[in-house]
Point group: C2
Chain length 394, copies 2
């Protein structure tokens, strides 16, 4: 692992800058500019890899923005991750000071240069985004490009807007790919309704003949045809307070109305069922997105479930592909040495809930992208179904 | 509401640019530059407020970045929200194309100007952040400042790193304020352990004398002193499978071990209890943060709870202040007109789960900031405790 140190002595800052920059004539071949960098380094926050292999100087411009003012890695040390480690140290320095954006200016792409092409590729590889080539900032031969990176930690939850009302057979992967630029490691969260609709899991109540049991449970308040659909989807009625039913579904989930829902149905007098196999639905969408975009994302299919002891619903995962579903900390130890022998975290459910916060219920935003969360894995949401015999909470 | 239109006719673009810019000599007093803007507008994506009140032209530089190339609002229309609406339209245009950053260059602060001071204040008010003053990009008298905004929708979840191990009496508000720049509308999520520790809710097992009942429940496997602490915190044992206990706590929550936890305790042979009144703890922290930073944030205190029917734990809200806890959609209608008569969403629990994803369990990151989610309110987490008689799921 590369060991990064912050250099606090002004003379040492300039010394390491000089040794490194003199080793890089392809980038720092103009004597006046190079001398200016060496001089400026003395007064700037500076990180280095010792003895004199690489360095990076920062310049804070505003309370929220700092710049990588100059950076260099000695030629023989290239391609060993030193630059990446220096940038990581610079980002941590920024975060400690509440700085949100780190930026850098380098030679722009309109002037071809093998060295600077590699420099820009490096910055883009560590997450910088080019804003604009600034002609006239330096001289006419040397256009500057400014690149920026948001250095905050954590993750983002972004709705995908503008999806049409979905119908059976719609190509959801195509509709999503058109509306957003996915990246490797993103998690795409899709509300169950969207998946069920494209899979044709919609029942017209006019086609349902309610049984006597359904009529009895429906009483005066409910539509017996809807109750019949619930009975058809349920393998077990877990709680019954007519006309409200909590059921275990064929998929193993315990939820209100066996997941049968009339809200957000494509038309009045229809109800939407859960996907037949939501894990398979997630895997299919993941594969279609990979074929279409070349990008490897995780997919979680969610639904809003009630739960005992607590009011209201939260969204949980009912289908998953390419993601960690349960994070098991068994055997790991906390900082005092206490072994966490029963700490298992339902990360897929927490991701589902986070996505719900941008779904809303009334608008048509059934898809969100989670970016910046490392939850790659290969578990299924079915792993969240607890075997009744081991369910202490039940 | 301001009606924004996209202008597609090149001549009309230049015409509206000319009318507006000629009305703003304080900003556009240099004939050559103004003529260049009017000419350039013809070829740029342009939004306007009709008839000829305001306009904004965009220039896309890279697949991920575009610039507000020129923008103007006629003087008599100032301070009516036209500029804000134009920027919102520009952001939507960017999002539709997968563009992440919108930037703008304007006169920098080192050259005083009442007009441009207002311009920069406007951009900052709509979320732009100044990166750097670029001397030499324009002419020596006119330093350019470049400001940038991340136009993606949705919200961010950011861990606060570097908090020390917490002790009774620590000033958590001060420790948080030192480590992050909070903004109005942020939600600060704090793991229960952090709150309990500063409130001194830690019990040394050496001081506990277990009762006969505690010894019986502990059996051979568990520490009877820990069981005694659980019994002391419980008002009702909801499920008992010795030595595992699910209890209703004094606060009304149903959870494993009545919330008594040995992991992440400050020292071995100690256990941490839930805060006495987590809603009050949240309100206190909120008030202390307001006093210290002047910023109005929401606060949610969380804990990891198991639940029936589903494996593993999710973090839920046990304390809240200044936030919406349950979003009630009763009476609202979905797009087909179906009335959502029972859709209540436990947004505070979903926020708690989102924050857990950056907490981890083994490291000391017990605080996260949620930014970009509009959940201001004044509910309490106690509202999430469901009255047993209405709990169909129970």
């Amino acid at each position: 692992m590369t060991h990064i140190v912050e250099i606090r002595d002004p003379a040492e800052r300039s010394r390491i800058a000089e040794v490194v920059l003199r080793d890089l004539p392809e980038w720092f071949g103009l004597e006046a500019e190079t001398a200016a960098y060496i001089k400026a380094a003395a007064e700037l926050p500076t990180f280095a890899v010792k003895p004199q292999d690489a360095f990076l100087c920062l310049k804070q411009h505003t309370p929220w923005a700092a710049e990588i003012y100059v950076m260099g890695v000695r030629r023989e040390q290239h391609r060993r991750g030193l630059g990446r480690s220096l940038v990581a140290a610079a980002e941590a320095w920024c975060r400690d000071r509440g700085i949100r954006y780190l930026h850098v200016k380098t030679l722009g792409p309109s002037r071809p240069s093998r060295g600077y092409d590699a420099t820009r590729a490096f910055y883009e590889a560590v997450g910088f985004v080019a804003l604009e080539e600034l002609h006239g900032l330096w001289d006419e031969d040397n256009p500057a490009v400014i690149l920026v990176k948001d250095v905050r930690l954590g993750f983002s939850v972004m709705p995908i807007e503008g999806l049409p009302e979905l119908r059976a057979g719609d190509d959801l992967a195509a509709l999503i790919a058109e509306r957003t630029g996915l990246q490797d490691g993103d998690v795409l969260v899709v509300a169950q309704k969207a998946v069920s609709k494209i899979e044709g899991r919609v029942v017209a109540l006019a086609d349902v003949e309610p049984s006597g049991r359904a009529r009895e449970l429906a009483g005066e308040e409910a539509d017996p045809r809807r109750i019949q659909v619930i009975l058809d989807e349920a393998v077990e009625l877990v709680r019954v307070r007519p006309p409200l039913l909590i059921a275990r579904t064929r998929q193993g989930y315990v939820c209100g109305s066996a997941g049968v829902d009339a809200s957000n149905a494509p038309e009045p007098e229809t109800v939407v069922l859960l996907p037949v196999d939501p894990d398979a639905s997630a895997a299919r969408l993941r594969e279609e997105l990979r074929e279409r975009t070349g990008v490897d994302v995780g997919v979680i299919v969610t639904d809003s479930f009630g739960r005992p002891w607590r009011a209201a619903t939260t969204d949980v995962a009912i289908g998953a592909a390419g993601v960690e579903v349960v994070r098991d900390l068994a055997g790991e130890r906390d900082p005092t040495g206490y072994e966490l022998h029963s700490t298992r975290i339902a990360v897929a459910d927490e991701i589902a809930g986070a996505a719900q916060l941008v779904f809303g219920k009334l608008d048509r935003v059934p898809v969100a992208v989670i970016r910046g969360l490392d939850v790659r894995g290969d578990a299924r949401a079915a792993d969240l179904v607890i075997p009744p015999e081991t369910d202490l909470f039940r």
